[in-house]
């Protein structure tokens, strides 16, 4: 029991800093254009909270690359979670679908951390109620492994092998005042 005490005292360590995050997003933007052959019909949908900011940044980068406005929105998955019955109801976030909708489009879901895959499953269910995209792809800033469902990301900022005792925390300037990805150790159960 006491063996964990030493670990929990260690501070979270940054694995991506501001400039790294910017570079990673630039790379993902180029990958999207390459794979979608020009990204004419791409719609970016961020998953609240931080996925939305990442989607907006990606949209700006895509605009630089393609010289075209890329529709960007948000997709709240709270009502579609599979663990609703395990917690008190959560506050809802905003779902904002761009004006032209998602029918026949290439939807790229954007999230900060890919972990169990359950969030993405919920997002796919939510999309199903909104329209029928031509295809759905997934872009994440960090993939930390430990999937519990057969889901994978199409665009990954950084693969981060972790243990289940570790925590991954993404901070973005829009929400947290600075850009960083922190790898820490979960405090031991008290």
């Amino acid at each position: 029991m006491d063996t964990q005490a030493g670990h929990s005292a260690s501070d979270p360590r940054p694995v991506l800093e501001g400039p790294d995050i910017a570079r990673v997003l630039t790379r993902i933007a180029h990958e999207i254009v390459e794979r979608a052959k020009g990204a004419d019909d791409v719609v970016l949908l961020g998953i609240p909270t931080r996925g939305v900011f990442l989607a907006q940044r990606l949209a700006a980068k895509l605009e630089q690359v393609t010289d075209r406005k890329v529709p960007v929105g948000s997709l709240d998955i709270t009502m579609y979670r599979d663990d609703l019955r395990m917690h008190p109801p959560r506050a809802l976030a905003r779902t904002e679908i761009p004006g032209d909708g998602i029918d026949g489009k290439l939807v790229v879901l954007v999230d900060d951390v890919l972990f169990s895959g359950r969030t993405i499953r919920a997002a796919l269910d939510a999309l199903n109620d909104i329209g029928r995209p031509r295809a759905v792809q997934l872009a994440v800033l960090v993939d930390r492994g430990h999937r519990e469902l057969p889901i994978r990301a199409d665009y990954v900022g950084k693969n981060l092998p972790t243990s289940l005792r570790e925590t991954v925390k993404v901070q973005l300037a829009e929400e947290d005042g600075r850009d960083t990805v922190l790898l820490g150790v979960k405090p031991a159960d008290q």
């Binding site: 009502m79 579609y80 663990d83 169990s116 359950r118």
Partner: protein, 342 residues
Amino acid sequence: MQRHLISAADLTRDDAVLILDTAEEMARVADRPIKKLPTLRGRTIVNLFFEDSTRTRISFEAAEKRLSADVINFSAKGSSVSKGESLKDTAQTLEAMGVDAVVIRHGASGAPYRLATSGWIDAAVVNAGDGTHQHPTQALLDAFTMRRRLVGRDTGLGRDLSGRRITIVGDVLHSRVARSNVDLLHTLGAEVTLVAPPTLVPVGVGNWPCEVSYDLDSTLVKSDAVMMLRVQRERMNAAFFPTEREYSRRYGLDAERMAKMPGHAIVMHPGPMVRGMEITAEVADSDRCTVVEQVANGVSIRMAVLYLLLGGNEPALSHARQPVAHHPATERVAPPTGSEEK
């Protein structure tokens, strides 16, 4: 943990704002091609209506169905109640069927409270109007309509109605809508003035968190919203005013009176309206009148309430009336459970 919504007075300011914010997101579901969320799948909700109602029952039913709950409608007419079954026996029948929530409308004030606190059933109880006591979801949808119109759809998120002046006009004596509105609007920081003939002002109104006036014209000019109440003829068992004409002259809202209201002020009515009595057709059909909007907002508010009461393993609402049970001395540190996680 309080699991019921019996009275608007039970809600804290934060609870009320959470419900309004949640309703704002729920409202967006109505704009989608598939107006359905899977959130309450597998939950069974009974609409137990002992009193006639169209809009409230339909509104609850729409909200329940949009959240994918299983809905059972029960009206006293044509049920065992007309054969003399008591509320207790009806409740126990529902309990035996495994109901998760009961939405109840009853002619007797206090029936929902009795149902919630009697131990007859385990289900969550939502008051859909009881006698002349409370109609909390109506007050919530009214507050939602006011916040949208007076503060703004998106700018209103997270905010209350502080400093807004709301006037409620008409048959306050018989109105559960007025009681719920006074409680909720006070909690949300608004200043409420009741305007009614002295005979239709309830005894003990001095203890309510509001002002009372008998003069509509002087109150109108400083109101942000004016809520007209229906004169409830079915509950009138005495002569409360000489003639309907006199009532509508002094307390009815016509175009001339509406013109005296500030430019941004809105006219509200919980429905059903009696045109020509408390409100003229001209006012009812003007774009300052929010009656139709209130009905649409009612579905969003009821979705929000049902989600917050039933959507998780325990309700998200804290309820002020609930005494906080803290026994630090007897609290023991729970033994560490395994470190598995989701």
